[in-house]
Amino acid sequence: MPVTERVVENLNHALHGLFERDGSVYLLGEDIKDPYGGAFKVTRGLSERYGDRVLATPLSEGGIVGVAAGLALTGDKAIVEIMFGDFIALAFDQILNFASKSVSMYGRRVPLRLVVRCPTGGNRGYGPTHSQSPQKHFVGIPGLSLYELSPFHENDAVLERMFRSAEPCVLFEDKVLYTRRMYRDGVVDDLFRFDYADPDREFARVHIGDPDDADVVLIAPGGLVDRALAAMRGLLLDQEITCQLVVPSRLYPFDPDPLLPMLAAAGRVCVIEESTAGGTWGSEIAQAVHSRLWGKLAAPVRLVHSADSVIPSAAHLERDVLVQSDTIYHAVQEMFVG
């Protein structure tokens, strides 16, 4: 296997490409300028090349999203980096009550090309206010779409798609993914292969051998891919349970229709996410699947998520709270026992 680029590089290149092609793109965020290049180095090199469209801002998460929405209102395209996804809470009003609403509350569609980038997730010891997965709080906002970074989805296409929609989008980026490598050419590793379940490449699908033959289908956003793969490997080798993994690029709205034949064939579905318990994205997916495949599933859709807890700083405590590959392993295993 040739060594592919890291996910953070893929995203960085996509941003460079976008700035290069389109003079109306702006980027705003804290500490995003060179040489610092952002807390996670996603924006490296942009300010040097496109300085007048890359604005290092004060600490003002709400204000920055507002400014970006203002740019978008004038027809520009605006990207905001929220340094840690947890701080998007400070911009909740601007996202819910201004940007998303403006798309439709004036009685006609108003284009608003705004992407809020949000590094999320834990397992890095950053502690309770720097480790959350806030996706679930943004599900079901009319006019707002949610995407998640994935090692299967090329970021230039994802950015392109978000702007094409002409509505505000949040791109959640699991921090653990940045240093991972993109998957290319249908190969995941010695065991697993991947393709896409649909022509638009919305759903990446990881399988072993025949994609239509799995005991259970796992649905997980990009940040969970590593952990899901490790669990799948174990389940296959130790338990002879064949899993198929589906990774969507867009979390919301989520149209399960292209997946229904696979899900029905397997009869077992497990939705995995890092969010702590309660009102999760997974319960939204589960409801869609239950109502569409009523009578065709062998078991209720199983949700796997982190514990109902804040996320501790100490590694040994954090590990227990957050979804790990063994959490997934045991949850899937249980589906075949109960």
Binding site: G70, G107, R109, P253
Partner: protein, 302 residues
């Protein structure tokens, strides 16, 4: 008394528009809520000649006067408030959520300040001489978004014009109990220029503000203009809990009374004309069919 006819007509158009709304509410012909600008009409009217078509204007809950001063056209706004055909936002936005060309209002106080900074940034980067004007009340200075916006506007020197209608009250709360220090000092805190306008004379306002606003356009220097004004009517409808003396004190400052006394003949004729015009418009708009909206606004997620 020097008073342009067009200005007088506009002042009285807004006055009768607002009065008509309160009457419609009382008659149970409107639902929801509304915030009239009774007593404050002269502010957008004075600014009318200082703002240009290329300018973005961000209005707030008390925005009918801002709208009418910009577009001079009451039918679409009334239809909006009544949910009738021809409504400028198809009846979806209603009184406080309006978008037309470069004019936008919304109902969450303070939210528009950073948005206006974004629009101003765009204007600056595209070499336009336009500016982004944003109307806020004194009470809105309680919101943190105002300061996040002022800071960025000052740091980036964008053409932001903050128009403060300081009517001494926020809903039921006197400014003295919700605003510490002063708006002048709050502008100064960010190195932003500030102008206090105590008078209501349109010419005087225009003369004083003209050069300052020109500098916003030319140098991209943000500016805060604070109008000391009076809310002659209730906050929304029937919710004026101010003591009678205070309401009377506000009314005593009303341009309407002063002009009626100063130029009784011209004023009386124009007043009658505009009152009748608004009556007609109400009648006409009320008879229109209900508004319909763009189907693509349902399930707006693309």
């Amino acid at each position: 008394m020097k008073l342009d006819n067009a200005d007088l007509e506009l002042l009285l158009l807004i006055r009768h528009f607002e009065r008509a709304l309160l009457e419609l509410f009382e008659a149970g012909q409107l639902n929801g809520t509304t915030h009239t600008c009774l007593g404050q009409e002269y502010i957008p009217v004075a600014l009318r000649t200082l703002l240009a078509e290329e300018d973005y204007v961000f209005s707030n809950h008390r925005g009918h006067g801002h709208y009418l001063a910009r577009f001079g056209e009451p039918h679409g706004l009334l239809a909006e408030i009544m949910g009738r055909e021809g409504a400028v936002c198809h009846g979806v936005g209603g009184s406080q959520h309006i978008l037309r060309d470069r004019y936008l209002s919304t109902g969450v106080q303070g939210e528009s300040m950073p948005v206006a900074v974004g629009a101003a940034l765009h204007l600056k980067r595209t070499g336009s001489t336009g500016l982004a004007a944003v109307f806020v009340g004194d009470g809105t200075w309680g919101e943190g978004s105002v300061y996040e916006a002022l800071n960025m506007a000052a740091l980036w020197q964008v053409p932001l014009l903050v128009l403060v209608e300081n009517n001494g009250i926020a809903q039921s709360t006197p400014t003295t109990t919700q605003l510490a220090g002063s708006i002048a000092d709050r502008a100064a805190a960010f190195g932003v220029r500030h102008h206090l306008v105590r008078f209501q004379d349109l010419d005087e306002i225009r003369t004083v503000l003209g050069p300052s606003i020109a500098r916003v356009r030319e140098a991209g220097e943000p500016l805060v203009v604070e109008f000391l004004t009076s809310r002659v009517g209730p906050h929304s409808k029937g919710d004026d809990t101010r003591p009678a003396e205070e309401v009377e004190r506000a009314a005593a400052r009303d341009w309407y009374r002063r002009y009626a006394a100063a130029i009784p003949d011209r004023f009386g004729a124009c007043d009658k004309r505009q009152r009748e015009l608004v009556e007609q418009i109400v009648h006409e708009v009320a008879s229109r069919p209900l508004s319909t909206w763009d189907e693509r606004c349902l399930s707006p997620n693309a």
